[in-house]
Symmetry: C2
Amino acid sequence: MAALAYNFLDMTHPQIVTEQSAAEKSRHWLKYLQQRGYRLTGSRRAVVDALAEAERSLTAADLYEIGRAKHKGLGLVSVYRTLEKLEELGLVQRVHGPGGCHAYISAQDGHNHMLVCENCGRVEMFEGDDLKDFTRGLEKQSGFRIHEHWLQFFGLCADCQAA
Amino acid sequence: MAALAYNFLDMTHPQIVTEQSAAEKSRHWLKYLQQRGYRLTGSRRAVVDALAEAERSLTAADLYEIGRAKHKGLGLVSVYRTLEKLEELGLVQRVHGPGGCHAYISAQDGHNHMLVCENCGRVEMFEGDDLKDFTRGLEKQSGFRIHEHWLQFFGLCADCQAA
DNA sequence: CATATAATGAAAATGATTTTCAATATCAAC
DNA sequence: GTTGATATTGAAAATCATTTTCATTATATG
């Protein structure tokens, strides 16, 4: 999962945002979990590591499989419980798409839009908040109070086009 | 469900798109189903009518309940089967959101973005395709071939803010 | 109106997720 | 270090949305 920055009105000068390494990410997440009063266990570490290392979005079943290689006794229930906590802390986010809504990916700081490969689950993240004015206009027209928005693009990544 | 039109770069002159009446919509959908070789039955009519009349997005369970008032013997299975066909014909679309991905709403012609009330499920549809250039730029940067995008806003409609 | 077959509802099956529960592991206090 | 309160565990059962199976019924066409 790479991360790019875009300017909504100017696509000519994109900025690549460098990301934490998987090891840094994992360490940070575990520390954060502990700070919140959660205990660090083998099961939790296995799931956190699997997610931090992931280059693509993963389902609970994917994480169960990958996590079991790291911690033999891992149960699927612990995968769900860890995902729940990581999501609550804003460290991972669910990836919704036409092909399903059961995958998770590590969240970038701030608000992110996603470009999702429908074949392999690879996710590119984009930062930006250029929809603010648009959102305000929409609120005025509709009478809604808007809390959140999703801007997502779906397609095939370069690798999956080639394959 | 109302429908508005917007211009991505100019939110000052929105255009309200008038929608079909529920009766027109239902008649049109049933005719379309029949043209495609599907038979018209009481169960099918009940589900189609319920969806055509809906002011908000509905789940299969909602449709089962509403449909049963119209056709006593309606089974939940027929709700799913009818949704499947309507979706295949592009007459209804699934509404995905932070609160779940199990609701359906009648689709407008063409490509639509949605503004969804997280409390009551009310959906406002917006037309527009001003993301074309943006999409092209994104493809160039990422190497992806983009097939589809979602632009969705979530919040509370005027009624639910008041309540 | 006969008839081929699409569509039906009920029940069972499936797949993802959650709950329950007794056993175990973590971490803070000693 | 040992202890002890309790957070966390995995397994099994429960739940929820959805799909499949199947014998029966209804539709539309000839």
